[in-house]
Point group: C2
Chain length 145, copies 2
């Protein structure tokens, strides 16, 4: 593996726990995360942060309180705007990419058994140390701010 290069296939292969996002890149204060999900998550919103969903495998349903459900298949891209309450549901295992600010809590302000700290999401991130996130030396972790 070339230094600093992360590969989506390899990263997905390394994810063994569902609903536990793995940070694979940081840039401009945003994180690129990968996750495998199945079943129903929790209702939550992010008051100040939009959240981009990109499905790589399987199917994800985003339920909303105030609008029709949205169903995403492979290659589909959707942005849940800040402040919009949503609940992700996947009947079968779904592999997805999330783009969101580094400070976004993946369960919003709802503390649940699903909740993973940012440290946990980073430590699942493979061979690069957490300190590299703000190292600014190139590779999948940019300056991070």
């Amino acid at each position: 593996m070339m230094d600093g290069v992360r590969n989506l296939d390899r990263e997905f292969d390394g994810i063994t726990e569902q609903w536990s996002p793995r940070v694979i890149a940081a840039a401009n204060g945003q994180y690129v995360k990968l996750a495998k999900v199945q079943g129903e998550f929790v209702w939550h919103d992010h008051a100040d942060e939009d959240e981009v969903f990109i499905v790589f495998r399987g199917r994800l349903v985003l339920r909303f309180r105030d609008r029709a459900d949205v169903t995403l298949g492979p290659g589909d891209v959707y942005v849940v705007p800040k402040g919009v309450e949503h609940c992700p549901v996947a009947e079968d295992e779904c592999w997805l990419m999330l783009l969101e600010p580094a400070e976004t809590k993946h369960t919003g302000d709802v503390e649940t058994p699903f909740t993973r700290s940012v440290e946990e999401q980073l430590s699942g991130g493979g061979p690069r140390p957490v300190t590299a996130v703000r190292g600014g030396t190139g590779g999948v972790f940019g300056s991070g701010n």
Copy 2:
């Protein structure tokens, strides 16, 4: 197509011009862009913005002044930190996703025949009007700020 959902395959299919990024989603002041590239781009940097490259098809070489080249294949993810001069090169056509702040100029401060304005990058973006970028109504365009 479900309202607000964009699909990577369809978007790539719709891109007919090389080196002309298409904005497919906006969130948190960042753009998700797709591009097809071939040949050698221009040397440039982005003083204040990291740039995330994700290759979907083909191979992209990132040349640097101050470090070894990086070669990216399908599924590879790499962040060029802000301020680092680079020159993307693709021997054969390469399909890639870029993640960067909305204000990033894709050729940095270098004005070249390749240079496309943000308006051009948005207008190539398919059925949603440019005004939707900051509409905050959901879909691939979040609140955009």
